[in-house]
Symmetry: C2
Subunit: 116 residues, 2 copies
Amino acid sequence: MYICIVMSNSKLYKGSLNTIILKLLNENDKMYGYEITQRVKELTKGELKITEGALYPALHKLEAEGLLDVEVAKVDNRLRKYYKLTESGTKETVSKLEELAEYIKTMQALVNPKLA
Amino acid sequence: MYICIVMSNSKLYKGSLNTIILKLLNENDKMYGYEITQRVKELTKGELKITEGALYPALHKLEAEGLLDVEVAKVDNRLRKYYKLTESGTKETVSKLEELAEYIKTMQALVNPKLA
DNA sequence: TATAATACCTAAGTTCCTTATACATAAGAA
DNA sequence: TTCTTATGTATAAGGAACTTAGGTATTATA
């Protein structure tokens, strides 16, 4: 008999989600919401689970801001909404990735000052 | 004439603050609030500014959770509240630092999958 | 035939932060 | 002398970004 205690869905840090979405779309041309949740699960070996309650509002907001374009498709009689980066979405991706790199550098300076 | 545009007080990512506080106290035995804000400014070369509105409630909460002990002092006729880690605060520090390392690893797997 | 997987969505609540304000002393500049 | 800056604490209102908990609908699987 095995008892497995999983670390509680390791929290997203504020602001990470948009960066993740943008980066994935930057690599994959177009993706739909459910696909994003699955891809993140794969890439992080199950460590990060994007909840729909976070994902869909985020996608809608990015679209409203003009960073994403939508294209609706019907596959197997099921709806899919494919998102892709706009031009300004691509620019924002670069800036978000720089911000993340900066954040990681800053945190390492605080937490591991010997290496900095 | 110089015009200097500073990147707007580079945002803290949610959840980072507690980790920073705990780590600093882990290294410095005891510190007071104002000192923490100054130390963070130094260590990050001005990139991260801990606001009092974030710091003091965070310190109070960590104390209420039993992770910090307080000791009031009067220096130059001014009040100081020195905080130090309790035993469980030290344990929590370890766990928070592991969490941060994990988070950084996870984000790198997403953002830079070739390196992972 | 019920459950899981696929696929979308929103609303309420929580947490953590920013912004703004307040109080008080000491030091320095105008 | 008086205003500003630095030191030091604190709280309250507001917002942004999550979690949790629902809801709808189709297809595949046990």
